[in-house]
Amino acid sequence: MMDVKRVISKIEKNYIINNLRKQERIDGRGLWDYRKFKIQSDIISSAEGSADVSLGETRIITGLKYEVGEPFPDLPNEGVCTVMAELLPLASPLFERGPPDEQSIELARVVDRGIRHADCVQTKKLCIKENEAVYILFVDMYVINYDGNLIDAGGISALTTLISAHIPEGKIENGNLEWTGKYFTGESIVNELPIVITYGKIGDIVFLDPNLPEELVCDGRISISVTEDKITSIQKSGAATFSIDELKMLGDKSLEIGKKLRKDLNLWQYKAKYK
């Protein structure tokens, strides 16, 4: 957890907790409600895919760039997709300049693992020529405003960016890499859409999508990535502990919430129009 808990006063902390005990939240939501998602795609002309995602007042802009490189020797026909996150000091007085800190590493890693392990990005589609040339994708997330729950906003932002991808198609011609003039798009790279869902925990109360004040006072969080019917990734963070029954309940909840969110957001609408 962040080192800034002290910025919230004790009074405010008690206020948040007492409300949660009554199943009420300071912004009026129920325990299992998300704040509103706002999504725009393909907003960066210099990127090969992009998204501008807001979750309440938390806002993340993500762009996709690619390079062509040699594959890893043990995966000669697979490309690579890496995720990076920057918590811009522009976005909050809580963020400092300097090399990536624990919080940005966590954001990048959790989003990355969500994508990597759920059969989401088809890395074999990113091969130009076995042993010689593959695409290396960079999904780079920039936090523009921070109001809690970066992980869920980042997850949707990364997915939308990948779906909106339009990458020049290369081929090896006489040992040279040349452009075919066509693009291949998010549609052919992305398979599953794993949704990452984060809960906060204070005392023995668990709740969905913590906003910033809740995040600052909570004991810990848990993020669960789900596909249509499977859990594909979990990350607990902070000093909270969870009972096994709670975890089973949250697994169940996540599949239900994931299903709803997947339908509501309809992310495939953001696929690129390039050919």
């Binding site: 760039k65 990076m84 000091p89 522009l90 007085p93 405003n145 020049p168």
Partner: protein, 261 residues
């Protein structure tokens, strides 16, 4: 082995009808859109689209200086951090800030400092964070322009706004507001800014070549364009205060209504 899709430059930068490749006249600016108050956490913020440039600016301050030893007993300090997103350019930029970003940060800081009353804020700092998420030529000028707006949005006392634009020479002709492609393929580039309180030049760089006549022409053309940019800045601020005004009016109206009810 880079994929052979080059960031290629066209051979001519004017169309047959005498207009520039994007259809502009020589002294025409690209479309500019600005907005203030876009980043809720900041003390002041602004967003700008200028051609294909897309830039956020946020201001924090006056606040405690970190690290402490940078604080000055007799005045506030201004620190500008200009950064580009990795995906804002054709070839992915490395994530760590480079020399170019540090140099431009200094240029913008030097340009903005004269409009502030730093001597009124001893021991404190103002930080201006600028993030270019899409770059299309003239980012240092666009960043200066949007940073001035963010400072105004923060309600920090200022002598005036500052506005910036690049003029340049392409295919031998002098034009205003170079686009990305004109910047790269052109022969000369003169970014400059005016601080309106004294109508003097506060940012000035030049690369290319010009004789004294051309220098005059550059500066006159820039001055004219800067006036138009200043107008856009003022209108954005005006509409902000109108909005605030309207909101207070609403509140007053509501109160009156409540009073009546």
């Amino acid at each position: 082995m880079p994929l052979i899709i080059k960031d290629e430059y066209p051979e001519v930068l004017f169309r047959e009808d005498g207009k520039r490749l994007d259809g502009r006249e020589k002294n025409e600016l690209r479309p500019i859109k600005m907005e203030v108050g876009v980043i809720k956490n900041a003390d002041g913020s602004a967003y700008l689209e200028w051609g294909d440039n897309k830039i956020f600016a946020a201001v924090y301050g006056p606040r405690e200086v970190h690290p402490h030893h940078l604080a000055k007993p007799d005045r506030g300090i201004l620190r500008v951090f200009y950064r580009m997103a990795t995906f804002s350019v054709f070839d992915r930029k490395r994530p760590a800030p480079g020399r170019r970003e540090k140099e431009i940060s200094m240029i913008i800081s030097d340009c903005i400092e004269p409009i502030l009353f730093l001597e009124l804020y001893p021991g404190t700092s103002f930080e201006v964070f600028i993030e270019v998420i899409n770059a299309d030529g003239g980012t240092r000028c666009a960043s200066t322009t949007v940073a001035a707006l963010a400072l105004a949005d923060a309600g920090i006392p200022m002598k005036s706004l500052v506005s910036a634009v690049a003029v340049g020479k392409i295919d031998g002709k002098i034009v205003v507001d170079l686009s990305g492609i004109e910047d790269k393929a052109g022969e000369a580039d003169l970014p400059c800014a005016i601080t309106w309180y004294n109508k003097e030049i506060s940012l000035l760089q030049f690369d290319g070549d010009m004789d004294l006549n051309e220098m005059s022409e550059f500066l006159d053309l820039a001055k004219d364009a800067l006036g138009r940019i200043h107008q856009i800045q003022l209108e954005v601020l005006k509409s902000k205060f109108l909005t605030i005004q309207e909101k207070s009016d609403e509140i007053i109206v509501n109160k009156e209504n409540q009073g009546e009810s």
